[in-house]
């Protein structure tokens, strides 16, 4: 065969996979790639219409106050989910994030309190609390990572084990679940906002300072971008950069796509896996720290219920449990969908337990949509072949 003919044959063979799709298939592929955004938009639209209808116009969904409430509500789920995004893309799982968040909350409360009681000013004490939370959490991540990468124990088992261990440590250190006696000044760090806006008579904008507002004025005051939201936004931006723009992120995808290819291409897989679990623990540590500031108390039970919600957010956001696929923004959307659903249903006066039923359904539908993609692209997932 001539060179030219074989080149044509090769080019032809390549077009079979993408060119043979019908218009309907392509439409389905396109819709399934943006369905989470669409679903979020439709959800918001639904509540924008439904909430005033059911309350006779007394309550609106898309107010400044409510949108800020939603942003605050997603923080812990999102922070846990961010680390989990890296872990699951690398075809792992981290079941310890909930209790790691609890441990971090307790550690930061203890460190902050003893620093402040020892005469350290408030702001440095808060920083010490942050360092204690992140470092304490990172140690757990290091243990997870080393056992998974070096001793080759499945991540599911390792992180299940450490989650129990960390739970015990958190209870022991907190001496009965809650650490109190924190300086009252930290309340502002955990709850105040970057910007305040008072509408109507006596209106005004206030940066970095909560205005003295009472009664009627207080009701018309909106807090925009609470500090924890700002901190979380920075973590999100950093995660996007790390996953999508750096060599580390590329390796996370490679490890999840083909561990074997990664090893044989010289990717320092063990080091990367350890770093991924440290990262997962660290974002949970930040979540624990923020919750301590928010409630002016350390809590050994704060993180436990959040584990499954955070995994749900990651899955809804399109991260494949088989590894190799997903984005940070997807997880942000996933967390937003859960928060919008929860908030909206409460505003519709739906019994709170319904949120679990709805979220659970959305998780399963999300995976079904991903699988419908695979049917069309003919893509067989590594884990699905067995």
């Amino acid at each position: 065969m001539t060179e030219r003919a074989s080149r044509i044959a090769l080019a032809h063979a390549s077009t079979v996979s993408s060119g043979a799709r019908t218009r309907v298939q392509r439409l389905i592929l396109f819709l399934s790639s943006i369905w989470a955004w669409l679903f979020l938009a439709l959800l918001v639209l639904f509540f924008v219409v439904a909430v005033p209808l059911t309350t006779g116009g007394a309550v609106n969904f898309l107010t400044v106050r409510n949108s800020q409430n939603i942003l605050v509500a997603i923080i812990p789920v999102l922070l846990l989910g961010l680390g989990q995004t890296f872990v699951i893309i690398a075809a792992g799982i981290d079941l310890s994030v909930g209790w790691v968040m609890s441990l971090a909350s307790v550690l930061s409360a203890l460190a902050l309190r003893s620093a402040f009681d020892g005469g350290v000013p408030l702001f440095p004490s808060v920083l010490i609390g942050l360092i204690a939370a992140v470092v304490g959490a990172a140690v757990v991540g290091l243990v997870n990572g080393v056992i998974i990468a070096k001793l080759k124990v499945p991540a599911f088992i390792v992180t299940l084990g450490t989650s129990f261990i960390v739970r015990g440590i958190a209870y022991l250190m907190s001496e009965n679940t809650t650490v109190i006696g924190l300086p009252s000044g930290i309340r502002a760090y955990g709850n105040d906002a970057l910007l305040y806006y008072i509408s109507g008579p006596g209106s005004g904008l206030y940066f970095f300072e909560r205005p003295e507002a009472k009664g009627e004025l207080l009701r018309r005051m909106d807090a925009v971008l609470p500090y924890p939201v700002v901190v979380t936004a920075f973590v999100v931006a950093w995660a996007i950069f790390l996953l999508h723009r750096t060599q580390f992120g590329r390796h996370v995808y490679a490890i999840g796509g083909s561990m074997d290819a990664a090893v044989r291409s010289g990717v320092p897989v063990d080091r990367r896996v350890i770093a991924i679990y440290i990262l997962s623990a660290a974002t949970s540590g930040v979540a624990g720290f923020l919750s301590t500031l928010r409630f002016t108390a350390g809590s050994a039970v704060i993180g436990d219920p959040l584990l499954l919600s955070s995994i749900a957010a990651v899955i809804i956001g399109g991260v494949s449990l088989f590894g190799g696929a997903g984005t940070v923004i997807g997880t942000v959307i996933g967390a937003l969908i859960i928060a919008v659903l929860t908030t909206g249903l409460v505003m519709l006066n739906v019994e709170a337990f319904w949120q679990f039923i709805v979220v659970g359904t959305v998780v399963i539908v999300a995976v079904l949509i991903d699988q419908s993609r695979d049917l069309i692209t003919g893509h067989v997932r590594a884990g699905a072949a067995q």
Partner: protein, 253 residues
């Protein structure tokens, strides 16, 4: 003839009680395509894994470019310029062509005075395009995950990766397996192209026509031993099969 690029001397590899490679010696000269022929279990794969740093041999020595070498890992062998393309290709199907060619050796751009390092995907894609062009391989797009590519195209990506990283010796394990006929021809053509560039190739295969089509010399293995070494132009399929099944054996003669 100048000194061979690769010289394997009395190599022996034992797994438990099984002698997988038994006292095998052979040379590979620059720009030469050497076929490694044998039935399943003949020891071909074990032999090349000893050369490419996957296995450590019990006995014997490997001389590469005039120096005695002992590779501790596949990475060691690759650093020396020995690139091995296994049947499973070792590609990450969820990454694009450029990401695969540069996997583990990504090109980075320094930002903010070296504080941050980001991936230079544009550069990596451009380099990948040039390498593929030089092998006369054309893809419609380099930005899609390679899971959408055909088997032959993925093979081409693996070859391009080896070529880009200046392979000095290429080892290919059954590269035409599971490919359609046109793609098989393309792979053989790329092997000829490598030879033209002076890059020697060790071609492991059990497909007789492939071996006869592109090799200069053929080494036949049977049950761990090298049973014959033939100049391709002076042998034929019938003779090779007899060696492969153990009916003939030069070493015993």
């Amino acid at each position: 003839m100048s000194e061979p690029l690769l010289s394997v001397r009395n190599l022996t590899k034992i797994f438990g009680g099984l002698v997988a490679v038994d006292n095998v010696s052979f040379d590979v000269a620059r720009g030469e395509v050497v076929g490694l022929l044998g039935d399943n279990g003949a020891g071909k794969s074990t032999l090349i894994k000893c050369i490419s740093g996957v296995h450590a041999a019990e006995d014997g020595e490997i001389v590469f470019d005039g120096e005695k070498v002992q590779f501790a890992s596949p990475m060691d062998a690759r650093r020396a310029g020995i690139e091995t393309i296994y049947q499973d290709l070792a590609l990450a199907n969820n990454l694009d062509v450029g990401a695969n060619i540069f996997l583990g050796r990504e090109v980075k751009t320094r930002r903010l005075g070296g504080l941050l390092q980001t991936l230079d995907d544009k550069h990596m894609r451009e380099q990948s395009r040039q390498t593929l062009d030089s092998l006369q391989i054309r893809f419609p797009t380099l930005t899609e995950p390679i899971e959408n590519l055909s088997g032959g195209q993925r093979q081409a990506v693996a070859i391009a990766r080896a070529v880009y990283w200046d392979a000095r010796l290429m080892i290919m394990d059954e590269p035409t397996n599971n490919l359609g006929v046109p793609e098989q021809h393309k792979v053989l053509e790329v092997i000829r192209m490598l030879k033209g560039r002076g890059v020697p190739v060790i071609l492991i295969t059990h497909v007789m026509p492939d071996a006869l089509a592109v090799t200069d010399r053929i080494i036949i293995m049977h049950r761990g031993r090298k049973v014959a070494e033939k100049i391709t132009a002076r042998t034929n399929a019938e003779e090779l099969v007899q060696y492969m099944v153990g009916a003939r054996d030069d070493a015993m003669a």
